[in-house]
Structure formats: structure tokens, C-alpha cells
Amino acid sequence: MSKKRLSKRQLGFLKTLVFGVCLIPFGLITWDAVNNLLGADPIQTLHFRTGDWTLRFLLITLAMSPLQRLLGSPLPIRFRRMLGLFAFFYASLHLLVWLVLDQSLSLDNMLEDVPESPYIILGLLAYSMLISLAVTSTAGMMRRLGKAWFTLHKLIYVIAVMGVVHFFWLTKLDYSEPIVYAVILLCLLAFRWPMMKSMLTSKTNSV
């Protein structure tokens, strides 16, 4: 069905639609915050909701190339950058909640908390990698970086793994939710196994 090529206008419309849908979680979170519906522990609720959506968008982004192959259509790839940038958007909100609400923007607080909380260190590392991907996500950057761009953007795999480990690391006893993310991530990585294997063998062959 999607073999037929979309016109520029159709694609533009579809992109606007997807953009709008990706903003729905943000809208809901904001609505709940403004109307005092975040429950007994609002900071924690915001941490979880923004963190969940970061992980979900990372996984959705990683699902685009398998989806392309399953559908036999290049369409999913057209949305990959936008989805990746939404992962960055929700990660930024997640960080902002931590900086403003959890740490009250106090450097003293951070210097005390960060060394005592390994999962925060991991999260900050993953976020700094994500920044490098967001900054180089434009067409111009892609052109300028050439082959290096593809190597750099392989970091998305590392970031996704770090994100899931970050979730495991802060969890107390009930690992059911992080396990769901881990399983989905493993499936998405498994899909790339042939590619990774050929990359590895071609490298060893050339040495």
C-alpha cells in the first residue's frame, strides 16, 4: 500500500500530524502540573513521566529502520530525525525537572547528590551524548560530517542502552517496567545483528 510515493504536500501534512501527536504527552504532563494533578509526590511523578517518554521515543526512533524493512517502504525513515529530536526534547524536560525541582538549581546540592547517585551520572552522560546527536541532526551537518556522521549517530544505540540501565539502577525491587524497556530494546538491537556482524567481520578482514 505504501509503495506509492507520497507527494510533498502529503508528506508535509503527515509530518505535521506526527509532530502534533508527539506533543500530546507533553500536553498531558503540563495539564496535570498546572492543575495540581501530579499526586502525592509531584517531583517523582514528573521524573517518571518525562523519563518514560524519553525511553519510549528512543525506542520508537530505533524502530524506524526495522519498520522500513518490514513495510518495504522508506516512509518510516522520513520521520526518524523528528522522533529522535523528540527523545531529546523529553530528555531535556527530564533534566530540567531534576535541575529545577529536584536540585532547586543549587550547585551545592548537585555536588552532594551526583557523586552519591551513580544512575544520575549515567543519565547525565547519556544526555550529553544525546546533545551531540541533536546538534548534528540538521541536513547541513549531515553533509559537512559525511561518513563521520553515520559513525557518530551510532551513539543512539549506546544512549538507549544507558537509558535503560539508568532506569534499572534507580529501581527499588520491582523491575517489571525496566524489563519491558530492556526486552524491546534487545529486540530492536537483535534486528541489527546481521549489520553489526558484517561490520565487525569487514573490519577484521581489512586489518
Binding site: A33, I43, L101, L173
Partner: protein
């Protein structure tokens, strides 16, 4: 200093009656809303909306001089934000499922190094106790805290009535084990039944409370009805709920969270901002019910009860014996 001595605490230090009534009115509205919601949930799942809240008023209790001079966390949060894994691992599970627990009749087995072992009816135990209201801060190991107006009696009084032998060095508590009433016990999140313990001097400290109610009424099931422990200077997981057995022992008892992760949850579990949990800081705490932009509260040594309990740990390395 947070804890006032009897001499410095006057009647006016207690939340003014007006405020209290006002907050009660708010509470009952939100409670009704919540009840309506959860009844709908229960009806939808085929369960009758039975006594989610016992709601029975406790008639005779005095006000304790150990109470904090702070506004209690709203009833709605105290009774819907609970860690009680016997009903599920998420905070909302206990409020939705705890109606399955039958708290009447209830008996408590007393055994071990005591002169008067036996199975006692809770009502008989309560007949011999003086109930009082104590407003304590509860600090969870997950770095949040609330202020709860508990009603209960001193554990020391109960232990004295049990006539401990000279060999009694520790007190071990056990929660009910019955997966039918406590569906969370069907999953093996912790090793059931939940057990906790105190050193004898900790158990005999006047702050240590056996609670049977909160906010002037009988203990809601999700908060550990009908009988739970409150040790305000320790992380919340020490304050075991729905107790069916009290055993005095010579050896340090095994405790559930310690068994589940020895390097993360110690036997003592004293609130201590200087000793981080291996995976997160304990220096500050989120105040439950506070508006969104409220800065976190600095966690106090022994949760602010140092004056009464610091001497129990003199000479102990609290970094090692966390």
C-alpha cells in the same frame, strides 16, 4: 529543635482547631472523590466497595508531648501513597486492594524470651494500653517524608507486660502471611512473611510506638491495620505493618529488606543524611503534599529525634552499621 519537651509544648502549639476542621473538611471532600473513584474501579473489577476506610473514630486518647509542631500531611496522601508490598509494589496498590484484609478479629502471638507467651486477642491487648496521639515525621528510604498524626501506645508498655526474660536482647515482628487477603504476597517481590526487628533498647525507647490509628480514627488497612510499629528515627521500612507475631530473641532477627539486599538496607536503618544509600543520596527528602516548586527538605540526623535516641548508638560506626 523539632522535638519539644513537655514543658515547652503548650496547647496552642497544636494545629489550631479551626485549621484542623478546615483541613478535615477538605480531606473529607477529596476522600469522597477518591472513594467514588476507587468504588468505580472495584465495581468495574467485580468487587463490592466494602470498607475501604474503617473510618471508626477512636474515642479516648490523649495528646503526646512527643508530637512535632508541624502541619500533618493531608489525609488523602497519607492513605493513598503507601509502600505496603503485601498489596502490590506501586504506591497506589494498597489503597485499592487493602479492603481484602480482614482485621477483626485479630490476634497477636507473643513468644520467645517472655514470661507470658501466648496468643492474645488484640482487643485484650488494647484494653491495657493508654492511647495517645503522636505527630511524627515518617522518612522513607526512598527520600520522601510525611508528617502523620498516629494514635497508639508505647511499645515499652507492651513489652513490660510480656515480662521479658534476661535473655531478651531483640524484638522480632512478623506481618500476617495470607496471599488471599494480601494479594501482593503472590508475587515474590520480598520473602514473605515480612519480618522486622529492633534491639531491646530501641524497642523500649519511649518514642517507639505501636500504632492503631491515624487522624483520630482506626488505622486504615493500607496503613498497616490493625496494629503496626512506628519507629520515627528509622527509615519507614522498619515500621512493620499488620503485625501478627512479636517474638523476643537473644539473636539479632532477620529482617526482610536486609535479606533482600544486604548492602542496601541495614538492620539499624537509622535516618542519616551522611550515609547515602548505595544508589542514591539521603541528604534531602521530598515533602509529600508540598507544592511543586517547594525545595526539598534537608534530612536530619535520626530524622530530627537525635536528642532522644542518639545515645543508643554511642560508639557505633553508623557508616558501617547503617
Amino acid at each position: 529543635m523539632l522535638i519539644k519537651k513537655a514543658s515547652s509544648l503548650t496547647e496552642s502549639d497544636v494545629t489550631p482547631e479551626d485549621d484542623f476542621k478546615k483541613s478535615r473538611r477538605l480531606i473529607s471532600t477529596s476522600r469522597r472523590q477518591f472513594m467514588a473513584q476507587s468504588s468505580a474501579v472495584m465495581l468495574a473489577s467485580g468487587l463490592a466497595p466494602s470498607t475501604l476506610w474503617a473510618g471508626n473514630k477512636i474515642e479516648n486518647y490523649s495528646k503526646s508531648s512527643f508530637s512535632l509542631n508541624e502541619k500533618p500531611t493531608p489525609y488523602e496522601y497519607v492513605t493513598t501513597y503507601n509502600n505496603f508490598y503485601e498489596f502490590g509494589t506501586s504506591k497506589g496498590d494498597p489503597a485499592v486492594r487493602a479492603h481484602l484484609l480482614k482485621t477483626k478479629p485479630w490476634s497477636v502471638t507473643v513468644e520467645g524470651e517472655v514470661g507470658k507467651p501466648g496468643v492474645y486477642d488484640l482487643e485484650d491487648i488494647l484494653k491495657r494500653q493508654q492511647l495517645e496521639e503522636r505527630i511524627y515525621r515518617l522518612r522513607c528510604v526512598e527520600a520522601w517524608s510525611m508528617v502523620v498524626p498516629w494514635i497508639g501506645f508505647s511499645l515499652a508498655d507492651l513489652i513490660k507486660q510480656m515480662e521479658p526474660t534476661s535473655k531478651a536482647k531483640y524484638v522480632e515482628f512478623t506481618t500476617l502471611y495470607d496471599p488471599k487477603q494480601m494479594p501482593g504476597q503472590k508475587s515474590r517481590s520480598l520473602k514473605w512473611p515480612y519480618t522486622e526487628g529492633l534491639r531491646m533498647d530501641e524497642a523500649m525507647n519511649p518514642l517507639t510506638l505501636m500504632a492503631t490509628g491515624l487522624y483520630g480514627e482506626e488505622m486504615p488497612n493500607q496503613n498497616g491495620a490493625p496494629l503496626r510499629l512506628i519507629v520515627p528515627w528509622k527509615y519507614g521500612f522498619k515500621s512493620i505493618k499488620s503485625i501478627v507475631k512479636i517474638r523476643l530473641t537473644e539473636q539479632m532477627p532477620k529482617t526482610s529488606w536486609n535479606e533482600s539486599a544486604k548492602n542496601e538496607y541495614g538492620f539499624y536503618a537509622n535516618v542519616n543524611p551522611q550515609v547515602p544509600h548505595p544508589r542514591w543520596s539521603q541528604s534531602r527528602e521530598r515533602v509529600i503534599g508540598a507544592p511543586l516548586f517547594t525545595p526539598k527538605r534537608d534530612t536530619e540526623m535520626f530524622n530530627g529525634y537525635g536528642e532522644q535516641v542518639a545515645s543508643l548508638y554511642k560508639g557505633m560506626n553508623l557508616k558501617r552499621l547503617f
